[in-house]
């Protein structure tokens, strides 16, 4: 290389160095921001879910412990009324029946908000109870397979229960399916929750791109806070399969 070429080559190396430094700075900055944003995002979802669950727990407890006994007392008082008038008797009987259905509905709402079984007997029993309650109502055949005992902390149990609730509601509302299979297995240090229906399916990527909807977002958020991974396979006419991997 002559002197002119040497100078030119040095200039080229300087340009390459500058471009390299800018690229490196750009990459490092993006990594830092992404990590910070990821942390904030997780904290935000966690806070939202915690607030939601606490609020549900509070409302469920208020309904069950305060309104329930009050209504029972009212029913007792109405039933203790002494009248010989057949019209009044009919009104009392009707009111008593109404009160019974209000109390029953109240229990159902309270149970939906925070299932007693989940808190007291654990995830498997709660899912079984939830499926049993829904099986007869919507005419959907639901099979729940869980051959191993699953022991998780309550925070994960609540999230998994909510995910199953959401999937079942989505299946009933949108899938037009006749069969839903829910399976829970533990493999090494991960728990797999798999669901499959034989409904009409949907184009998952188009749906996610256009508007994922509250249900799908809810599934993603709850999976994310548990550090898990959600996979959805669905095609029009081929049913929908959700697979959720949760680290134990």
């Amino acid at each position: 290389m002559d002197t002119q070429e040497k100078e030119l080559y040095q200039s080229i190396l300087i340009v390459v160095g500058v471009v390299g430094i800018i690229l490196l700075y750009f990459i490092i900055t993006i990594i830092r921001y992404q990590r910070r944003s990821l942390k904030l995002h997780k904290e935000k979802i966690q806070a939202e879910i915690d607030t939601l669950e606490n609020e549900r727990r509070r409302i469920a407890s208020d309904l069950h412990d305060e309104l329930g006994p009050l209504l029972s007392a009212v029913k007792l008082q109405i039933n203790s009324l002494n009248t010989t008038d057949p019209d009044d008797e009919a009104v009392i009987s009707k009111s008593s029946t109404h009160l019974d259905s209000i109390i029953r509905k109240l229990r159902e709402i309270s149970n939906n908000l925070m299932p007693n079984t989940l808190v007291r007997k654990g995830l498997q029993k709660a899912i079984n109870e939830f499926i049993e309650n829904n099986r007869s109502v919507y005419g959907l055949e639901i099979r729940f397979i869980c051959e191993q005992d699953v022991h998780l902390n309550q925070y994960k149990e609540v999230n998994i229960y909510r995910i199953i609730q959401e999937i079942l509601h989505n299946t009933i509302k949108h899938a037009q399916a006749t069969l839903l299979i829910i399976k829970i297995v533990t493999e090494g240090n991960r728990l797999l929750l798999m669901t499959a229906d034989n409904g009409k399916g949907f184009d998952y990527f188009t749906k996610v791109k256009d508007n994922p909807g509250l249900g799908l977002r809810n599934l993603q958020s709850r999976t994310e806070v548990m550090g898990g991974e959600l996979t959805c396979h669905s095609e029009p006419g081929k049913g929908t399969t959700y697979t959720i991997e949760i680290p134990l």
Partner: protein
């Protein structure tokens, strides 16, 4: 830079190839084009050495020209698998087709495939950089796994770094080599590409480690 040193450095792509082959059956099929690309790159490096040693360095230009389109197509396929073109096969095939026409026309009309298709090199490098930046942004905003464990991140960074320097080298080749520059100067310019290639090969090896496993769940029906 000595040819042997250059060859040894270029063999660093072999690390990604070995990792890729060992993990091939277990990784998600959407990453197959990446593994194919690494294998193709390694093959080209070995062919380069063989053709240089056997005294046919000109034949290597044809190999490089063919590899340039293969490289473009395989990365395009990879981006398509990642959902960059909204999973529309037609968009992917159209871009691949347009790329092929440009590559073919430049080869037929300008270079006869016996000189480097430098215009196609620049164009496809720009296209890959744009696709990588879009995928990179998408991964940063939407994906919730740690960015260091995300192979898309490493592959996109690799593409951005390598092809940025590649454009620089190719553009310099187009503009400077028209003038009478010494062989040493040319070698100096190409050495920039060798070092960027080395750093990218390391990034690809890291990416190959983090390629996610195939989802092998049994059907519930």
């Amino acid at each position: 830079m000595d040819g042997t040193v250059r060859f040894i450095l270029s063999l660093s792509i072999g690390i990604a190839v070995i990792i890729g082959i060992v993990r091939f059956r277990r990784i998600a099929s959407s990453y197959y084009p990446f593994i194919y690309n690494c294998i193709a790159a390694l093959t080209v490096e070995i062919l380069n050495r063989i053709l240089t040693l056997t005294g046919h360095p000109d034949a290597f230009i044809l190999v490089e020209n063919i590899f340039s389109y293969t490289d473009f197509y395989l990365f395009l396929w990879l981006f398509h698998n990642w959902g960059l073109f909204n999973r529309k096969k037609w968009t992917f095939l159209t871009i691949a087709g347009v790329g092929f026409i440009i590559w073919f026309l430049e080869g037929i009309l300008l270079t006869g495939f016996i000189k480097h298709n430098l215009y196609f090199f620049t164009l496809y490098a720009f296209a890959l950089i744009f696709f990588s930046v879009s995928t990179f942004n998408k991964a940063v905003v939407h994906e919730r796994i740690s960015i260091f464990k995300n192979p898309k991140f490493w592959i996109c960074i690799g593409i951005i770094i390598f092809y940025s320097f590649f454009i620089l080298v190719v553009v310099m080749s187009i503009s400077l080599f028209k003038h009478n520059v010494s062989k040493e100067f040319r070698r100096g310019v190409w050495a920039i590409g060798v070092y960027s290639n080395l750093s990218v090969n390391v990034l690809y090896a890291v990416a190959a480690i983090w390629i996610p496993r195939k989802k092998s769940f049994t059907s519930l029906f």
